[in-house]
């Protein structure tokens, strides 16, 4: 079923909307959750919660790309679940590494909370990612949005793992400089 048809079901408040969404994007959202949580039960719960959130959001929302709209919900839910679990015990797997890597973008800055406008930071990060060359952009998104492993990214795009690491390292350096320039880092 096409995305437009699925969204029409949401608008008409027909429960088939959830079935069709799960049929089309269940596996995809599960992968997004699994990358972060590395736990089947937790991933399944987050995916189920995704359908509920989508049901509550559409309408009035009518996303252009339903797939990524759902991916974002799943990602947020999964990350919240990760934080809850991480608070109780040390995390493991890809998520910890990804957070450590992103921490490099902020290293050296003060721990003092900075008030920032979410909208401005949203624009900054989008503009930054857009400014990257195509390969660097793709690798950055696969790693820091989708939390894919280095080896998976390398395999997917025909790169060596070393290349992927170098690309990510340089992108993080550029992001750090951009955040410093725009005053997000003290």
């Amino acid at each position: 079923m096409q995305d437009d048809e699925i969204m029409d079901l949401y608008v008409k408040r027909e429960e088939a909307a959830i079935c069709e969404t799960e049929k089309k994007y269940g596996g995809y959202c599960h992968k997004v959750a699994e990358n972060i949580l590395h736990n089947k039960e937790d991933s399944e719960e987050c995916v189920n919660d995704t359908w509920l959130k989508a049901w509550l959001a559409i309408p009035p929302a009518r996303p252009t790309h339903l797939k990524f709209f759902l991916a974002k919900i799943t990602r947020n839910l999964s990350f919240n679940r990760y934080k809850e679990k991480h608070a109780r015990k040390r995390g493991c797997g890809e998520m910890t590494e990804v957070l450590d890597e992103l921490g490099e973008c902020l290293s050296g800055s003060s721990d003092v909370e900075t008030d920032y406008l979410a909208k401005e930071l949203h624009d900054t990060i989008n503009n930054f990612v857009r400014s990257l060359p195509e390969r660097d952009q793709t690798v950055f998104i696969r790693r820091y949005f989708f939390v894919e492993s280095i080896s998976e990214i390398a395999r997917r795009y025909g790169l060596s793992e070393n290349n992927v690491r170098v690309v990510l390292h340089r992108s993080r350096g550029k992001l750090k400089r951009q955040l410093e320039k725009e005053g997000y880092l003290l």
Partner: protein, 362 residues
């Protein structure tokens, strides 16, 4: 902002960006546009070179064609270099602006970033008071024949010069290229999307390997004929007034005698390298001691610069007559020479077996 918040913000990326990241594509290697650009650059350079040759009637200077004559080493990349314009490496190594000198003021290892990558930051101050900072990377697992090699990024000329100097790709690597017109791999150019950088050979990652592999595979030296000259300088281990005076007394020695170069070549090809080791100084006795500082090390140590027939300079080899051993920085050590080899070498390098002159007056 903390890292969790940054992660959450990345979650708000525009959906068109996410869509682009999912489009099936291979990101390694060059796109057809880049090949077209490189082909156009090579064509322009070739036309200019032909025009220059016609005008200046040059015929005896060293070219890529003559470099190929008499050699039997394989072209690793499987591509011909016949269409490449030879580029001198000295042209690629970075020089500061005319009249500006620089001094290294800080050299810091930023540490191991990830497996296979080490970042080093160097800070320079120029004679005009400006400071410059260079962050250079060390790369591992670069294929050189049957070996994996460590290369270090070096300061280089600008992007346009590196573009014009790009040669054929290195077999087994998705981002390293020969310098145009070269068969040696002493320096390589890295092309990663739009970024270009110059890299210098460090060492092989094997625990032990014959230096003849380095000579042939990296430096393209297959006989003494490939060596034009060798410059021998005293080791600058002791830079006290006394040490500097002794260095000046010893002086530099340029070796051009063909028999001496043949002897040196035979010694070099017999060497076995023991690979990088952080504690190499424990293996190599340089002769410096508590009573006389580095005077002995200066007196009996030499740093060599080997100039190849095509103008490359190899200046990593160091020798100490205290241990009869060659060594390099970064912990690279070579097995001890035989007594005959040591005698021959010390004759050629004019290393005296007498005590250092200053010590006689103590």
């Amino acid at each position: 902002m903390n890292r969790e918040e940054l992660f959450e913000e990345i979650g708000e990326l525009d959906e068109e960006l996410l869509l682009q990241s999912e489009a099936p594509k291979k990101l390694g290697g060059l796109t057809w546009k880049r090949w077209a650009y490189i082909a156009a650059c090579i064509a322009v350079i070739a036309v200019m070179a032909i025009s220059y040759q016609i005008i200046s009637n040059k015929g005896s200077s060293y070219t890529a064609d003559s470099q190929q004559e008499g050699t039997s080493s394989d072209n690793q990349a499987g591509n011909s270099i016949e269409n490449e314009e030879f580029v001198s490496v000295q042209y690629l190594l970075r020089t500061f602006e005319e009249g500006q000198e620089s001094k290294l003021i800080e050299d810091q290892d930023d540490g191991l970033l990830q497996e296979g990558l080490l970042q080093e930051t160097k800070k320079y101050i120029t004679n005009t008071g400006d400071t410059q900072e260079e962050s250079l990377l060390t790369g591992r697992d670069i294929p050189v024949g049957k070996h994996k090699a460590v290369y270090r990024e070096v300061e280089s000329a600008g992007r346009e010069i590196l573009w014009r100097s790009l040669g054929r790709p290195i077999a087994g690597s998705d981002c390293f290229y020969y310098v145009s017109g070269h068969k040696d791999m002493q320096y390589l150019i890295s092309l990663k999307d739009d970024e270009l950088s110059l890299w210098e050979f460090g060492y092989f990652q094997d625990e032990e390997y014959p230096y003849s592999d380095v000579l042939e595979l990296v430096y393209d030296i297959h006989s003494a004929d490939d060596i034009e000259k060798v410059l021998s300088k005293p080791a600058d281990i002791d830079n006290s007034d006394q040490g500097k005076a002794l260095q000046e007394e010893i002086g530099n020695l340029e070796i051009t005698d063909r028999e001496d170069i043949e002897t040196l070549y035979q010694i070099l090809t017999s060497l076995t390298c023991l690979g990088g080791d952080e504690h190499w100084e424990l293996k190599v006795n340089l002769g410096d001691d508590l009573n006389h500082g580095g005077i002995n090390a200066v007196w009996r140590g030499r740093y060599l610069s080997i100039t190849t027939a095509w103008g490359n300079v190899i200046n990593t080899m160091k020798y100490t007559a205290f241990s009869n051993m060659f060594y390099e920085y970064d912990g690279i050590v070579y097995k001890k020479l035989s007594e005959q080899q040591a005698n021959d070498l010390e004759r050629i390098l004019q290393i005296s077996s007498e005590p250092a002159p200053r010590l006689e007056h103590e």
